[in-house]
């Protein structure tokens, strides 16, 4: 194992924290404030990207803070899994920033300073989660993320939003308490908290303890990952402005939860210990149920954002399901799906937001004929939908391929059936939106209007990425390579 000491991970985290403070102090001038956001976003992505060569050559980048307890040093450690997540969220932050500015200004939302400041802070926390090298550091950023995103959920300050904020806090903070308990317990049992490929809970004698710890860890992470039955906060949190739903409730926050599950399975509990303890199949069952249940729920939603939220719940469970199968290909597929789903879902949310900002429509039945007014937006929506359903040559196909391959290798025919049938369900709940939008209304004069471009350009870009990540071999091979490094380090050859 070769490690490099570097302060870069810390810088990548601090960039947006500093931006947060600058944003707070420049609430007089809108343009200056937004400049800080863009500057931080680009800088952050640049720093993360500059680590790429080191990571692909098998190096681990480490920054140590201080000793908290004997055997526990809070530290930042960038391994392929964390790097992948960081790259994903920092790249999408740039695009979302453009979109945010377009959206917030079109709708003339209040409290924009608070909005952009919290956004920047959330990204710091997300980056911290990606880079944390041990459970305690992970927890620190995990709680920070909860607090930083709370103002975004209650942004509108309507009674409904405040209610959603309370729900979010109750779910997240109680999960945090469970997670903290599990962390303290693992320290008590193993005297270490450092993420290790292949896990460190294996040193615990009693399989019962391993199992209980595993349940607690999954509980702690799965609330943010919106796994049934801990998902209820996510549809309510859709009252937040759409850029928040797009980046945080499709990428950063929920993926942080799923990322936590991947960490726990691969780097804390470890496949060996889980195999020894047995009885880990409950997670497979719960995730399968979530996939199907959420898809069915999505069918019943008329509010577009809520429908997308249930779709997110279902897709997040894909990732958890893949990880729970404990084999190389399924884990690899999970990682890929984390990124691919991010691009697809952010496109869909951007579309929903653009529709709301332009036409003030949230309900699907009201969207008749909108497709003629905003054709490019709806084409992007269609592309993302097809990708989500797993059609080649879109990105969704690639990750589902690996997930299905993993399921077959493990001999899980039931899981395969779940993946395939849910692909149909995805099409069933999202394609009708397209159909409705392209229904003729009878009104003769429809003018095309997709301005401002700050609002629509981002979604074209992400839609293009959805295609590229499915058919550009250069991009796919690099992704698979990165994800492969992580899963091989966990499961071995």
């Amino acid at each position: 194992m070769n490690e490099i000491q570097s302060i870069k991970p810390l810088l990548a985290i601090l960039v947006s924290s500093v931006a947060c403070i600058l944003i707070l102090f420049s609430n007089k001038s809108k343009n200056l404030r937004e400049t800080w956001t863009f500057l931080a976003a680009i800088l952050k992505f640049g720093i993360v990207l500059s680590l790429y060569p080191a990571i692909t050559s098998g190096k681990i980048i480490v920054f140590r803070f201080f000793d908290v307890l004997p055997g526990v040093t809070t530290s930042l450690r960038i391994d392929p899994l964390g790097f992948y997540f960081a790259l994903l969220s920092s790249f999408l932050w740039i695009i979302t920033s453009v979109y945010s500015v377009g959206y917030m200004r079109t709708l003339e939302e209040k409290h924009q300073t608070r909005y952009f400041a919290s956004f920047a802070l959330s990204l710091s926390a997300t980056m911290g989660i990606a880079f944390s090298g041990d459970l305690l550091t992970f927890f620190i950023f995990y709680e920070m993320l909860t607090i930083a995103t709370y103002p975004l959920v209650v942004h509108k300050e309507t009674p409904e939003a405040i209610q959603a904020g309370r729900k979010y806090l109750v779910y997240s903070l109680s999960a945090g308490a469970v997670l903290l308990g599990a962390i303290a317990w693992s320290y008590y049992e193993t005297r270490t908290l450092t993420f290790t490929p292949g896990g460190f809970l294996g040193s615990i004698e009693s399989t019962k303890t391993i199992m209980i710890l595993f349940v607690l860890f999954i509980y702690g992470c799965a609330v943010k990952g919106a796994l049934f039955p801990l998902h209820a906060w996510l549809p309510s949190a859709m009252v937040a402005p759409t850029p928040v739903s797009a980046l945080l409730h499709a990428v950063a926050v929920v993926k942080a939860g799923v990322f936590g599950v991947l960490r726990v399975i691969g780097y804390v509990a470890g496949p060996a210990a889980l195999e020894r303890a047995g009885h880990y199949h409950w997670l497979t069952c719960v995730a399968s149920f979530t996939i199907l249940g959420a898809s069915v729920m999505a069918l019943a939603q008329d509010n577009l954002k809520r429908r997308l939220a249930y779709s997110t719940i279902s897709q997040l469970a894909y990732i958890i399901l893949g990880a729970s199968l404990l084999n190389v290909n399924a884990y690899l597929g999970s990682m890929l799906h984390m990124a691919n789903h991010a691009f697809m879902k952010i496109t869909l949310f951007f579309c929903a937001g653009a529709i709301y900002a332009k036409a003030h429509k949230e309900k699907i039945q009201d969207m008749k004929g909108l497709g003629y007014q905003m054709p490019l937006t709806f084409i992007a929506f269609t592309l993302a939908t097809l990708s989500l359903s797993g059609f080649p040559p879109f990105s969704g196909f690639i990750s589902k391929w690996y997930l299905c391959k993993g399921a077959l290798e493990g001999g899980h025919w039931g899981v395969l059936a779940v993946y395939l049938s849910s692909a149909l369900l995805n099409a069933a709940y999202l394609l009708p939106v397209v159909f409705v939008a392209f229904t003729k209304t009878g009104e003769s004069s429809v003018t095309r209007d997709e301005k401002p471009y700050a609002l629509t350009a981002p979604l074209y870009i992400t839609a293009v990425f959805v295609i590229l990540m499915g058919c550009l071999p250069w991009l796919i091979s690099r992704q698979v390579n990165l994800a492969g490094m992580a899963s091989v380090s966990i499961f071995g050859g």
Binding site: D67, V68, I140, E143, I162, G165, G181, A184, Y187, Y188
Partner: protein, 488 residues
């Protein structure tokens, strides 16, 4: 010089208390003298902290009478830390509450500052002394001045609250004295170190048992642990804002320090387990944590809410101490520090809001939304730290208490420690929601409290960030220097 540090810490506020009456003419000179005295104590405590952690405890025989016959003062890492905490928090509070005192106590400010100085003298004395009876004397000094401070506000209810506190507090002090009497009868000494040696020979005797129980009862009343907390909410709520900000962070903490000193230091912890007192304490603390939080959630008066929050967190500290584990002990000591700072920030912010906008209730908070950015930032940081959100100070004390709870093998209390964070979140988010997200009057003009009342709580809240950053270092230092002394 270093030999005399214990007296230096004590002497400045003590002497100033007698000089203040001669400065009758000038309010600012009075405040300045008080602050200077405390700054001197604070500096000496810091110096003492360095000396003591470097070259061991400083023993000081008052009047040259050798212990165990004379009164001994003794500085080790634990009480040097306590003295530093007392004098520094008091210094900040005195500097901050200048405008508040002017408004709330317009005429008798001389009396007020004399009482403050004597109160602090009492607290510092309690921390410094190594003699059980001498401790009683200082306890009474601190308590009597405390009663007067609580009655110092305009409100008539303050007098009633003070009287209630006086009745209960006097019973507490009497219990303590009675307990000391029994222990003296059994061991024939009042010197803490000496008693620690002699107690083991007579541990079976009934008078030792009675002594321990009475001393404990007295201390529990003074620190306001459930079910002896009855005096606390009224006292904190109806005292003047300046007095609350001074008393709330310190008085109960010093009583907890005395608990640590007596039941950790003198009796090396065996006594509590010998008499099967720990389970009782654990039960009391658990109820205090849960009940205190629920009561805090139900309050609409800000100061009352914070008072119940104190009850809950005193429960947490006592729970950690009763777990009988070194990590939990150090976590508790860390939490004493953190909680004192957090409560100082919160009560000072409340004083500021009340001073400028007449805010006393939760619902009033929405009227200051966006108008006191610095005060509200400080409140926000302190509240999040109280909840235990990392990387703020409160998180680390919770974390160490938690690891201690696991090591002590009592899973039920692990759950209660975790629950305490959640319950604290319940009432603090209720408050934060009012501050930041409720529809307000629409008034947006900046109207901060007077500079002193903004700057100091804000500085303290930045201190909380630093305290969070250095918490692991303090923990490591304490495990090396404090815990071996009290945790044999």
């Amino acid at each position: 010089m270093e030999r005399h540090l214990p007296v230096f810490i004590f002497i400045a506020p003590f002497l100033s208390a007698f000089i203040v009456p001669f400065l009758r003419k000038s309010r600012s000179a009075t405040q300045l003298l008080t602050a200077t005295a405390l700054a001197f104590s604070s500096f000496c405590s810091l110096k003492a902290l360095c000396v003591v952690s470097h070259s061991g405890p400083i023993e000081y025989a008052l009047g040259g009478w050798a212990p165990p016959y004379g009164i001994e003062w003794r500085l080790d890492c634990l009480n040097a830390l306590m003295c530093f905490l007392i004098s520094t928090i008091a210094l900040v509070v005195i500097l901050a509450t200048g405008p508040s005192v002017k408004k709330e106590i317009p005429r008798s400010y001389t009396t007020y500052y004399v009482l403050v100085l004597l109160h602090l003298t009492g607290l510092l004395g309690m921390a410094l002394t190594h003699d059980l009876f001498n401790l009683f004397v200082f306890l009474e000094v601190a308590s009597l001045t405390g009663y007067a401070l609580i009655a110092s506000g305009d409100s008539r209810r303050g007098n009633v609250a003070s009287f209630k506190y006086l009745l209960i507090g006097t019973i507490g002090a009497s219990f303590y004295l009675l307990g000391i009497g029994y222990l003296y009868a059994a061991t024939g000494t009042l010197n803490m170190g000496d008693m620690g040696i002699r107690i083991h020979a007579v541990i079976q005797s009934r008078s030792v048992f009675l002594g321990v129980v009475f001393v404990l009862l007295g201390l529990l009343i003074k620190m306001g642990l459930f079910p002896f907390h009855g005096w606390l909410p009224d006292a904190y709520t109806y005292a003047s804002n300046s007095a609350t900000a001074l008393i709330a962070p310190l008085m109960t903490k010093v009583s907890i320090y005395v608990f640590i000193r007596i039941f950790g230091g003198i009796f090396d912890r065996t006594v509590l387990s010998h008499f099967h007192i720990l389970p009782v304490l654990l039960a009391f603390s658990a109820i205090a944590i849960i009940g205190g939080s629920v009561m805090a959630f139900l309050q609409s008066d800000l100061k009352r809410m914070l008072a119940y929050s104190s009850i809950s967190h005193i429960g947490l500290i006592m729970l950690a101490l009763s777990l009988n584990d070194p990590a939990a002990w150090m976590g508790a000591i860390l939490h004493i520090l953190n909680h004192a700072v957090m409560k100082a920030v919160l009560f000072l912010a409340v004083a500021g809001a009340a001073h400028t906008h007449g805010v006393t209730h939760l619902q009033d908070l929405r009227t200051i939304r966006g108008r006191m950015p610095f005060t509200l930032t400080a409140v926000c940081i302190a509240s999040l730290s109280m909840i235990g959100i990392p990387p703020l100070a409160g998180f680390f004390s919770k974390w160490y208490i938690l690891t201690g709870a696991f090591q002590s093998g009592k899973p039920l209390f692990v759950i209660i420690v975790l629950l305490s964070g959640l319950l604290t979140a319940l009432y603090f988010f209720k408050m934060l929601e009012q501050i930041f997200f409720q529809k307000d009057s629409g008034e947006r003009k900046l109207a901060e409290a007077p500079l002193a009342l903004v700057a100091w709580p804000f500085t303290l809240s930045i201190g909380l960030l630093l305290l969070g950053f250095y918490a692991p270092a303090i923990y490591a230092w304490g495990m090396q220097h404090i815990v071996p002394v009290v945790f044999v």
